[in-house]
Symmetry: none
Subunit: 216 residues, 4 copies
Amino acid sequence: MEYAKPLPGYLVQRYHGWKATSYKENEVWYRRLATDGQHPRAMVVSCCDSRVHVTSIFGADQGEFFIHRNIANLIPPYEDSGNRHGTSAAIDYAVNVLKVAHLIVLGHSQCGGVQGCIDMCEGLAPELEAKESFIGRWMDILRPKYDQVANIKDRAEQARELERQTVVVSLENLMTFPFVASAVKDNSLSLHGLWTNIGEGGLECYDPKQGRFHQV
Amino acid sequence: MEYAKPLPGYLVQRYHGWKATSYKENEVWYRRLATDGQHPRAMVVSCCDSRVHVTSIFGADQGEFFIHRNIANLIPPYEDSGNRHGTSAAIDYAVNVLKVAHLIVLGHSQCGGVQGCIDMCEGLAPELEAKESFIGRWMDILRPKYDQVANIKDRAEQARELERQTVVVSLENLMTFPFVASAVKDNSLSLHGLWTNIGEGGLECYDPKQGRFHQV
Amino acid sequence: MEYAKPLPGYLVQRYHGWKATSYKENEVWYRRLATDGQHPRAMVVSCCDSRVHVTSIFGADQGEFFIHRNIANLIPPYEDSGNRHGTSAAIDYAVNVLKVAHLIVLGHSQCGGVQGCIDMCEGLAPELEAKESFIGRWMDILRPKYDQVANIKDRAEQARELERQTVVVSLENLMTFPFVASAVKDNSLSLHGLWTNIGEGGLECYDPKQGRFHQV
Amino acid sequence: MEYAKPLPGYLVQRYHGWKATSYKENEVWYRRLATDGQHPRAMVVSCCDSRVHVTSIFGADQGEFFIHRNIANLIPPYEDSGNRHGTSAAIDYAVNVLKVAHLIVLGHSQCGGVQGCIDMCEGLAPELEAKESFIGRWMDILRPKYDQVANIKDRAEQARELERQTVVVSLENLMTFPFVASAVKDNSLSLHGLWTNIGEGGLECYDPKQGRFHQV
């Protein structure tokens, strides 16, 4: 493996700064985390997007959240084919091994993956339709929800709505996992759906009874 | 989807605290990020583990890192079967759409997924061998590297070495992606392998020439 | 005193969040409390246990409860030896200075101190028997009640019963304080015994006539 | 024990409200806390004063802080006489059993116990000098620090300074506990001293190098 490079200087510097300050001030906690293992109370599934940091919004410190980040915070439907599924493995680990109490799906505004899905559903992104497009095949998880937003004329509004649907479809797909459904039903796991507006710092929570999101 | 619950009170409180402080102080930047989109300089692939926050170690602000977090920071080999692959979709997006300059794989100590892989390779975890075990099938990505650590007698030492190998196998698998290999060869993308020791706040960088990690 | 460290970052962040939200919204009340002093209606004696917050269960706001928290919410018998007694000082202050109207003792399930007492009474905890064991000597307050639960075969049931007895022995010991007994008899102070089940969110109140606890 | 009364109606109502809302929304977490036990990261020693809620200021949820509350957040010097010491028992439990990572002493403004100590040191409170005064004998822990504030003419300023000294004397006395000193020296426990101004919502942290408190 000949291609790995040294760490860029600006990151080396930042690391040493963190080591001398944050690490040093919290050394007791870091050593404790290393010896005692992790016992996070919640798992969060959020987007890879560089603008959304769940640790920031919720002031979460090391040890609090088990965080899986993928494109558009999507959870695929359960499959028992024996194939390799990264998101399913993360959920398996969080629910069955760490036994988290909460599983939070966090969607966000201005999601590139969602925009790509809209373009794909409207025939405007042939490259995503290609069989070998990883982004396209991943966004197929969201396709079934496109109908819900197909008639929204305002393009920004439409994207916002489909972003909220990433949370809804992920929650629905979560319930197709037998071990998730049974943990939810016997009250050892609760699910939560959130959507954040990056520019406004807003946060909405999904209310299944009303079938819509409300400001937190 | 009837099972979603309201956001737990302690997170509502923390969110409002963040909104009134961090968001308020940086509102200009958040609005800029919303309108201009994300232009992260680097992608980081790290573990879901609650104890490892790349944003913390590198003092990264919103907009800096495109972050994919999965079990044991593993990247599978390239497959063009047209199936759905979350990690591959994240790499596709980062390299082809965002055109990040750096792709960093960050492994860590006390990784539960790695320990699970060791147990599986030693026949001590039949539940992971089961076809329908998501964790087991995901950790299969790392299996080929078990031979490199099989003879290390000290159990902790063995786990540390295999954790470093999650980074090596991920870098190797990255190079099987045609678009990654070509971006690396024409110098538009550089790869980096890191491993952090949680308790000691240590950070090591992979040097492919020497085939080992060095303290940063 | 060279060993004090800066406040951990996660608490600094949370404090600033509280200052900008809760404090700001209630600033008038906080300033009133500072100038007018405290006039709590009730004193609560509860356990240090991190899972039991009387302010939470009773939705108590700043200024409502004078709260003394110690191991296993125990009140020792009155002693007039002139030695230093923290719990007695707290009761002295609440009854004679603040003149609270109610004194509530709140016990809880899964109390570590109570389990330690059971182990000690059964000869299973030599370290607690040691003269210099603070926990052991503090739990001696509860020893006299062990006989009441000695024959309960179910270990969990036994612990739950002895937890309820922490409340009973504390109420009995309270009445050995002359100033408490006289305030109770002339109706200027009423005593209450409660026990809460953490997992079920249950609350029971002690009825001395029946010598048992009833669901609230 | 004939003197326990039913729970006052206003508290019964508040309890039922909590049960139907907070408890219900977080039921999964409460059940988890009951079965898994408590693993608080920090112990806090604060005053019984009704106006100071550390859970509020730090947005702490159930399971986070092990909280010991006594008069004026005082920790007495270590004694190995085999007598009963409530505060020492709480510290023993937190450090040796729960193995908390942080021990925070939180003092506050307008502390009645501190004012009582000033009056006592100035000969203005004969009732506190009496041998059987629990409050007086408890505040003896703080007496040695009176000299540091004896010459401050402004009465409010003097009280504020002696309140800060409750934190300093407590930290000093903490270090006389052998198990605390050794945990601090081998980096498995860190100590922190804080003082909060109730009316202003302010928070200061003790810096031993400079021997003074700084705004957080």
